[in-house]
């Protein structure tokens, strides 16, 4: 089969590789019908993730079940499915507390041996372990280019919004209008805020944010913390959702929030550690949350919301290409020529 493979820093290639097969009793073999390129794929491309050459890339994908192991109960051949970008067992201590992303057995698709040695979904086929727990069926009426988002960035945007503790009538600030920031912009509105400010420095992104109900703030033109304060009578936002990961962006997220408010970070932090305003946190009684998305907990309700027309994540797709063009897709995404690219095998 065809697959996009990691060859080394800066080098990804479409190659002919052996078709994978069901090995464990809870595996499912999926014929991929759509994959997507994610910001994390660029981390891999740039050599920031420990990866072994030859790894098949891609952790955002939907497809059709071709075969299942004997223990798989929820799925059968022919079912349309979307997969979380990581697997979880459902049985360990932290899975049972609902923290699937802290599973002792978790593996991440398309991230090499260090992250569990799972193949990726930028390929004709992919095997999903712990299928009953890792995948979700796609309801009729939802297209592939909608469902694919619940396995990663739509869930991440929702996770960020949920952990921001938004209440009806609140003011929310979203830092960053990249794909995750746009998903957070959509998801924040599921919690009934009065205003959702979106901060970025690229007008094209802010225009999409505005279409999605956000109030754009271009940080190149105004100081975002000042802009939010003046729009809230000097009080600040009730909560913020950080979707970039730069320490400076996190700092903006902390400073634009009112006393007693909440900062929810989903951007991958750009530093292992860095300065943090401990005294401000204490004086203003703030809550700071960070995390990567606990996807398995969110796929079902998000699919329901897409089915009902209340979420339209496909709006951020800027380019639709063939798997064969994946190398070019990576180049374009890395060059910021595309907001989001999906790939058809």
């Amino acid at each position: 089969m065809k697959a996009l493979t990691f060859q080394g820093e800066g080098d990804v290639k479409i190659r002919e590789v052996p078709k994978p097969s069901v090995a464990a009793s809870n595996d499912a073999l999926i014929k991929v019908t759509l994959g997507a390129v994610c910001g994390s794929d660029l981390h891999i491309l740039h050599g920031h993730t420990p990866m072994n050459p030859g790894t098949i890339l891609g952790h955002e994908f939907v497809g059709v079940v071709e075969e299942v192991g004997p223990e798989v109960k929820r799925f059968k051949p022919g079912d349309r499915v979307v997969s979380s970008f990581f697997t979880s067992c459902g049985h360990c201590t932290l899975c049972r507390k609902g923290w699937f992303n802290q599973c002792v057995e978790k593996g991440t698709f398309g991230h090499g041996e260090y992250f569990g040695g799972l193949g990726g979904g930028q390929a004709d086929y992919v095997v999903v372990p712990n299928a009953d727990h890792t995948m979700e069926g796609i309801p009729d009426g939802i297209r592939d280019d909608q469902a694919i988002f619940v396995g990663d960035i739509l869930s991440t945007g929702f996770f960020g919004a949920e952990r921001a503790e938004i209440k009806p009538g609140d003011v929310v600030a979203i830092v960053g209008a990249g794909p995750v920031g746009l998903m957070a912009t959509m998801c924040a509105q599921l919690f009934g805020p009065a205003k959702v400010f979106v901060i970025d420095m690229v007008d094209a992104r802010l225009e999409i944010a505005q279409e999605l109900g956000g109030i754009p703030i271009n940080a190149k033109e105004v100081h975002p913390v000042g802009a939010i304060e003046s729009a809230t009578g000097g009080i600040g936002a009730d909560s913020s959702i950080e979707c970039v990961g730069l320490i400076s962006a996190i700092d903006t997220a902390i400073h634009c929030v009112r006393g007693g408010g909440t900062i929810s970070v989903v951007g991958v932090p750009s530093a292992v550690q860095a300065d943090f305003p401990y005294l401000r946190m204490w004086l203003k009684s703030l809550t700071f949350r960070a995390g990567w998305c606990n996807v398995q907990a969110y796929m079902r309700p998000l699919l329901e919301l897409i089915a009902a027309g209340r979420l339209r994540p496909e709006k951020i797709i800027s380019h639709r290409m063939k798997l064969e063009q994946a190398e070019e897709a990576y180049r374009m995404f890395d060059a910021r020529e595309a907001t989001k690219i999906v790939l058809t095998p």
Copy 2:
């Protein structure tokens, strides 16, 4: 001044009465700029509420502060304000637990001696006791015909929705598409449901519900419980909001909900007591809530949502009349010729 007064069962009259004045140190005198006729006013008209003749009617009103007592801190003459339909002290045990509607000193505007002897707002002027606690300032950009709803039925719809414990992606059923049901239809959507079914028997009402994002079910045409079950794969709604008060409507609200779900009743029950499906409640682990709105807790966030354009309660106004026409307004509303009537003094 002019005021609509209760004369006896079936008899309300516009009369010239003395202008009220600030008596207690926390009173505010309000020049009414808009009043509204509510379903509870019809209860009074029909003699179902203990009332003394001569009482000035009306508990939904907005206006401009004309004078305040020396202890009033939050308001000054000239401020535009909306009042809750009842007063609360803010200091008693239950106020301090946040249950303002259980205040030991509460009074209800326009409901006669039995409910605290407060004048009503279907008049040129009205006095609001405990003004700092009972009123809210109207932000710039909000019109009178929007703000008036936060003092009663919009808050009631929100209260019903909040107590239904709606989570993103849920299915909600609203029983009744009268003014309160329509408000609940709007407010339920602040909690991110995938689907909001609205049950009524009047197509005109269901059409408004549909414009507000609801999925109409005409109970004259289909069995509403069956319709919801078949739309949810036999499961039922996650929660329901009852906005009628008839025991049969409450029964529908109970039976359309899935195991583990919640029924939230805001309709005034038509019977002091009646049969209740205790065993079903237990077998299906249901939660049943009833209540009249704890308005004071909701006015501020609801005003923010109106200001942001996220709630448009004025959409349900069907008739705009003069205070002088109030007798006719009562007749029309009672005859169901109007969905909602507002009155300008």
Copy 3:
């Protein structure tokens, strides 16, 4: 093997029956080390539950795993385990919403064909289907006569307490000091109430309630609603937990609660339907919850609390007997000569 069997109304007998065996791939065969007699067993004895003769009785048991099917992952032979009194699949729509007691495939041990045809635990051996989901391992240091309670009545007491929404400093009223009421008395205190009143008419039970931290109210001597009102400055309890099921007891639970409070019913209602104070519910903004315990969600934390010495459910055991004496045990329990009887095979 030996087992207690249902023969007909009023007739249970110890019989020699075939030892059951692992049939499905997720079954576990358990060698029972302790069983208990529950109030529900008396419902069966009196013919109030549809039962087929020959059914092995008992739904409260702990034991040692003797054999597991090939899909069982969490348990192996030799493990000490406690079982929920019912099975759940973990995969259906309502299981995935966390409502295991609403599972489409659920079966109840020792309750005959109508409830899933599962054998009971008042026997030498019992088979547990869906073992990974239905059972919990017993941590070292917890005795059988402690662990047995998490599979039924301790979880039920906790479920009642959790759904009562108790906050630190609250006043709670527990109606009934039978085995479940005593468990609720213990569990209510995990939520930090200031006072836990316990209402019953039997002094011996109230004495145990008092040892467990409750404040006894003998309903034969004082009117319980009046007693609670006078102990709370006329306000009433913040919440109540009903553990009897008689409509009159539920009525007490409703009337002793303050405005805005919560009533949580775990007693099996004695009537399919009966009168309910709808208007009071509405005027006082009350929440009424009923339900049977969602055991699977509670076993792990309750075992941790027993291991830490914070819960001592074994305190309610009044009689320890041999399985051979089970017929006599039923007689004694039915005659109210015992609070709680455990049986050793």
Copy 4:
């Protein structure tokens, strides 16, 4: 009257000063019956707080109302009261969101002009502004040496515990067994944890922690993070409460918590900013909260818990002295010769 006054860094003196009096209409004049020395007083003593010489010290006090301004509604002369250590208006935007410690008008007793210019309670008399909002009546049966704690450190311990999101059965780690840490040890148990580890380096403090239900860990003898991990099967605590403020102590609080857990900091941070493990926070999906206590929200329930015998904060009092001995009391407390000192005028 007599009062302890700040003279300059390292210099506090008992002086004869004018008795204060009711000035504003919502003031109350309190005859102090008991004061206490707090860790924050040592910050003042050491010149770490901007203070003007002559300021009367003390922000922990109880007393009897001697006189009230005309707007005070909840109190009258003769009432026994406890005051929060800071005042709040109850009407500003953040007060109305329940964040009284973020009040725009707040003042802190005994902290000089910079913090509102309020006199302190280590004196014969003190004036409490916004009395209805700042004070709480002391129920009968509660002694002064119990009630005094709800105005500051008991509320702080509770605030820390509440924000740790403890659920029944959880494992909690408390960092620091000083007065606040001991209060947190008591309060954590109101949320039903299975185990409460308490980390300190002083055996005498750890002994008190153990009496209060904590499991002591002496950080001089074992590595506290390792000790908690090995006691939890390698998982870590569900949440931690930091009660010291040193960045190293906060670091321990962060590292001893499991994936998905919560860190709640109430210790005053020893640095305005310092290194923070951003990547760990994100990888493990942690929540970090800091803050100083929102006292006004907690006084009433904590008084109820003391009245019921469920909290015994007086257990940490090591020395009872006269106001005249306050200089010596400060010396002893600073030299760590005392855990907690109370002063009788």
